[in-house]
């Protein structure tokens, strides 16, 4: 197999606490010592940042069920273009990924068509309906890396408790979409000043916070890992911070959009600002940033949710929730969080590499020799305007189109193979 020598990059490897200029050598799909190379392809990367491949623990690929919006092939190509070498596929496809057969289908198509590692996530309950536990053991055997009912949330606390206990015995982390549905019912945006002003039905923060509180109680009682997906409110961050301080095995993720946008964006009725959980108040947004900065939130995940233009070009009330994010995550986070001085670059990279790896139980996710050669390179100085028409994703539902950003992915390497290369 081919060899690569990635030269003179700023290497940031959070697991080993490395931030230095240097070279990375790749042979036969793994990272090796530079001295082991015989005739490598040399890529000059002066001025670029090189890190372990980004992991997105929250991606909707829409296959099977809605391949007009996205496919495993197009979604994985979008991931590669966004610097992601591994993505976790959420199970709310149609049919749901709640059986071994569905997981085997996903793995087979991914093996044939995907350019990055597609890690399957299985449902906690059959059909994600929150009524009956899915065949979690069979899902484990089929290769799922985690369990989630994302898009929905188990409302029956007794069932949830059993799911967490059962998942623990199969060593599968839980990733929960935290939403109490009676409070959220009918809501289309954050409940607060802007929902009152616009006359829209609100989704109160308490809808998320109640379930976060529940999950913290279960994680402590059962002593098992529960990851809170797309955390969106100040109170959620506070609860997570206190729980983690007590050593309870809970983690939380924030999305690039919740970190950079707030509910005022909705005043123009653009459905590309409609997502669940909704964009929250500016105060909530600032709390999320505090959580990212102080280590309460260890994961940035995109919640990449493709929808066709037809689906989104409707009345705000009737539009589906969600936006795409794989191809905008790095530039948005780099521009708004790092370039603006809120967090340091190694912190951002940790949230996109070691943080998600820890959630999935991947140990020693680094650029150490012997590790799989999953590598991301980007140019922190490149300035450009986001153009949705350049996306690899089949969908265009992004609020970031036309935004001026800094930070461009140049190279994505999966198991030593270049899957995306542009500008280096």
């Amino acid at each position: 197999m081919s060899e690569l020598l990635l030269k003179n990059a700023r290497i940031i490897d959070p697991a080993r606490n490395i931030d230095k200029i240097g070279n990375i050598a790749v042979a036969d799909g793994v990272i090796v010592e530079e001295s082991a190379l015989k005739d490598p392809e040399v890529i000059e990367l002066a001025g670029k940042v090189l890190s372990p491949g980004f992991i997105d623990v929250h991606v909707h690929l829409r296959q099977p069920g809605n391949t007009t919006a996205e496919t495993i092939a197009s979604g994985s190509a979008a991931a590669a273009a966004g610097g992601f070498t591994s993505i976790v596929a959420m199970p709310n496809t149609n049919p749901s990924a709640d059986t071994a057969g569905a997981i085997e289908y996903l793995r087979r198509i991914a093996a044939e068509q995907a350019v990055v590692k597609v890690l399957p996530c299985g449902n906690m309950t059959k059909g994600g309906k929150g009524e009956e536990m899915a065949g979690i053991g069979a899902l484990k055997n089929a290769g799922v890396v985690a369990l989630s009912d994302d898009g929905k949330c188990i409302q029956d606390h007794g069932l949830m408790r059993h799911v967490v206990e059962y998942a623990k015995s199969f060593n599968l982390p839980i990733m929960d979409h935290c939403e109490e549905t009676t409070l959220a019912a009918g809501g289309v945006m954050n409940e607060g000043k802007w929902s009152v002003l616009l006359g829209m039905n609100g989704i109160p923060g308490a809808s998320e916070e109640l379930i976060i509180a529940r999950n913290i109680l279960f994680a402590r009682q059962i002593n098992w890992k529960i990851h809170m997906q797309h955390v969106s409110t100040r109170e959620s961050v506070d609860m997570l911070r206190r729980a983690r301080a007590k050593g309870i095995p809970v983690t939380g993720e924030a999305t690039p959009h919740h970190l950079t946008l707030n509910d005022e964006c909705i005043k123009k009725f653009d459905t590309n600002y409609k997502m669940n959980p909704p964009l929250r108040s500016e105060d909530d947004r600032l709390a999320l940033i505090e959580g990212v900065a102080d280590g309460t939130i260890t994961v940035i995940a995109t919640d990449h949710a493709p929808h066709t233009q037809t689906a989104k070009l409707v009345e705000f009330d009737h539009a589906p929730f969600g936006i795409i994010g794989l191809e905008t995550a790095l530039p948005i986070c780099f521009t708004q969080l790092v370039a603006s001085g809120i967090i340091l670059l190694p912190q951002l990279i940790a949230k996109m590499t070691t943080g998600p790896a820890e959630v999935l139980g991947i140990e020693n996710y680094s650029l150490a020799p012997g590790r799989p050669a999953d590598i991301t390179v980007f140019d922190p100085e490149a300035e450009y305007t986001i153009d949705k028409n350049t996306f690899r994703s089949k969908s265009r539902n992004t609020p970031f189109d036309g935004m001026k950003v800094r930070g461009k992915i140049n190279l994505t390497v999966v198991d030593g193979k270049i899957v995306f290369r542009e500008g280096c």
Partner: protein, 307 residues
């Protein structure tokens, strides 16, 4: 000033000067309806589509009559939001209407912002006849017209809007218009229907009827919808009426000349006792009359702003 908008979507976007301009224009159109010939040729040759994606009787009749008095050609279309969802999209529907060389679309829709969504994508003018709980600009304007006609102006006036503020587009359009024109606005009702968040938009929030009416120059009562009871916003119509309904006894707490308004249709003896609705402080029927004048003015101005 001169009118420069092809659409009327809400009062939130309008300046005080624009609102006053509409009211001034409406004053002249009111006279048309008082003449023997209650019709002017202003919109002759223009086609107006009344597209109602939510049932309405009064607003639709008022718009239709306004259009007739302006000599426009009229087409009425009715649809259910749910059937629109299953079949053709709203945008396709209105694009098809526009392709028939229509000049104006008067639209009501149950979804907030639906009119803003289509107005951005159509060349023809769009008049909002009520969208979700967002805005009902012509109702807001007719309430403002009635207040100005009766009381002369807005500066320092105390106006209390009482009822289900949370779900009311009438309340929001009134709030924006009144605040821009310099009135003090109080919103009142049970806290489930009048959340504190309203304070952030510059109005006083109160949960007590006596407090709400005591200093008011105008009270505007909103219709209480029975379905809110089923959703647990309050225990029952009877309890609502006893705590927030305006009755003859309530008049003792009020200034003697306090003006009583209601956008209709009234739930008699729920938010407003029948004898008060018919009493001398009530201007409810004048509101209906003024609604026609205001809608004529709005149609005229929006239709006149082409090219």
């Amino acid at each position: 000033m001169q009118w420069k908008r092809k659409d009327l979507l809400g009062l939130y976007d309008l300046s005080a000067e624009e609102i006053t301009f509409i009211l001034d224009t409406a004053a002249e159109f009111k006279k048309v309806s008082e003449r023997r010939v209650k019709k002017v040729p202003a919109l002759r040759g223009m086609t107006v589509v009344n597209f109602f994606v939510e049932p309405s009787t009064r607003t639709r009749v008022s718009f239709e009559l306004a259009e007739q008095r302006l000599s426009a050609d009229i087409v009425n279309m009715q649809a259910q939001a749910s059937s629109l969802l299953k079949g053709e999209t709203l945008l396709d529907t209105v694009k098809n209407i526009e392709a028939l060389q229509v000049d104006l679309v008067v639209m009501r829709h149950s979804a907030t912002g639906a009119q803003n969504f289509i107005a951005d994508r159509l060349k023809c003018g769009v008049i909002n006849a009520g969208d979700g709980a967002h805005e009902h600009p012509t109702q807001g304007l007719l309430d403002l017209f009635t207040i100005r006609e009766k009381l002369g102006g807005f500066k320092g006036l105390n106006v209390s809007i009482i009822g289900d503020i949370l779900h009311s587009r009438v309340a929001r359009s009134n709030i924006w218009g009144l605040l821009k024109l310099g009135a003090n606005v109080t919103v009142a009702g049970p806290s489930t229907l009048v959340p504190r968040d309203f304070e952030e938009i510059g109005v006083r929030v109160c949960h007590n009827l006596k407090d709400a009416v005591a200093n008011a120059d105008v009270i505007n009562l909103l219709r209480i919808q029975h379905e809110r009871q089923n959703n647990g916003f309050f225990p029952g119509i009877g309890e609502y009426a006893s705590h927030f309904g305006v009755k003859t006894a309530t008049l003792e707490w009020m200034k003697p000349d306090c003006m009583i308004m209601h956008p209709g249709p009234i739930n008699r003896d729920v938010e407003l006792a029948g004898e008060v609705a018919d009493g001398e402080n009530s201007v409810i029927l004048e509101q209906v009359t003024n609604g026609l004048a205001v809608r004529m003015a709005v149609l005229f101005l929006v239709a006149g702003c082409r090219k």
